[in-house]
């Protein structure tokens, strides 16, 4: 019953998100039309609105802060140059993230091809191990999980995923794109996206699981005065 209620909540939340997104898409289309008509201030509104999300996406893809700024600039310049070609068949956000993804991929293929070529090393879906949840992770309050330390641990768990898995997880679970949108951005099939997402989510869960279990053990040792 608890799970059904949880799923119901997720569904209601998804419906609310969908309604919000339609509104955002309409708003973006209006701004894009103004930019195409020559209103540069409108373009700056789009930059202002999306720079944080694009910066985060590029940071997660490339892992090289010295390059992220250049890629951020290149992404928005390419978007500006290509705005006439934005047909509006997808949302502006999907279109922009596809440009950012392609920009980062081009950079990586040229400078770090090994990152992209060997990005599937988690293996296939059937190999995943069944790792039970640690009670410490589940019972830790959300505000503690979202503390500075908790966020650092989360970022590290995401960053340690192979490239393709990390990118899919960031697009779906951090940025909130639908599976179909992620498949468009990544130019991958939906089954491939789902498979990578499944493994990425469990890998992050397992990393957090291990961290909170270990943290709890260390706390107990400290409390009992035991030192290694």
């Amino acid at each position: 019953m608890v799970k059904r209620a949880a799923l119901h909540l997720l569904t209601c939340s998804s419906l609310r998100v969908s309604a919000d997104r339609v509104e955002i898409m309409d708003e973006d289309r209006e701004i894009v039309a103004r930019v195409v008509d020559g209103d540069y201030d409108a373009f700056e509104m789009l930059v202002e609105k999306y720079q944080g999300r694009i910066y985060r996406h590029l940071r997660k893809m490339v892992h090289d802060n010295s390059q992220v700024e250049d890629l951020l600039q290149e992404t928005f310049l390419s978007a500006y140059r290509g705005l006439h070609g934005f047909a509006g068949s997808s949302s502006f956000a999907t279109w922009l993230f596809r440009i950012a993804t392609n920009t980062a991929l081009m950079f990586l293929r040229k400078n770090h091809p090994e990152v992209v070529e060997f990005s599937d090393e988690i293996g296939n879906r059937s190999d995943i191990h069944f790792v039970p949840a640690s009670p410490e992770f589940i019972s830790t309050p959300l505000d503690m999980l979202l503390s500075q330390e908790g966020k650092r641990k989360l970022e590290r768990a995401i960053d340690s995923l192979p490239f393709m898995y990390r990118t899919v997880l960031v697009l779906r679970d951090v940025e909130g794109f639908s599976l179909e949108e992620v498949s468009r951005i990544m130019e991958s099939s939906i089954p491939a996206v789902k498979s990578r997402l499944h493994r990425a989510r469990h890998s992050v869960r397992e990393a957090l699981n291990a961290y909170y279990a270990e943290r709890n053990t260390s706390s107990k040792r400290s409390a009992s005065g035991h030192h290694d």
Binding site: M1, K3, A6, L7, L10, T11, S14, V36, G38, Y40, F43, E44, V47, Q51, G52, R53, Y55, R56, K60, E69, L72, Q73, F76, L77, Y80, R81, G82, L83, H84, G85, I128, F130, V131, P132, A133, S134, P135, F137, I138, L142, L145, L146, G150, K151, L154, E155, I158, V170, D173, V174, L179, K194, L197, H198, R201, H202, V204, R205, L208, N209
Partner: protein
């Protein structure tokens, strides 16, 4: 354990609403009677919530300023779409 693994392999699709009604019922019935799988489900849900709320999108002020300057210089040299 094999059966539990099969259920856990479907939890990601379940959370995305990507599975049929009959399979949903099977998963929910299993979660109701299997504490280890219910634990994995809770942990996975928490992981997704952390991903939504815990990854910073802050852009350093100087990066924002340089982006604005860069785009003004390069975009003003040409019309949008060229």
């Amino acid at each position: 354990m094999t059966r539990c693994k099969e259920f856990c392999d479907r939890l990601s699709d379940y959370l995305d609403g990507e599975i049929g009604k009959n399979e949903c019922i099977l998963i929910e019935e299993h979660l109701d009677v299997c504490p280890p799988c219910a634990g994995v489900f809770e942990a996975l849900k928490t992981t997704l919530q952390l991903c939504r709320e815990g990854v910073s999108e802050e852009v350093p002020q100087e990066v924002q300023a340089r982006l604005k300057t860069f785009l003004r210089q390069h975009c003003h040299n040409q019309e949008c779409g060229e």
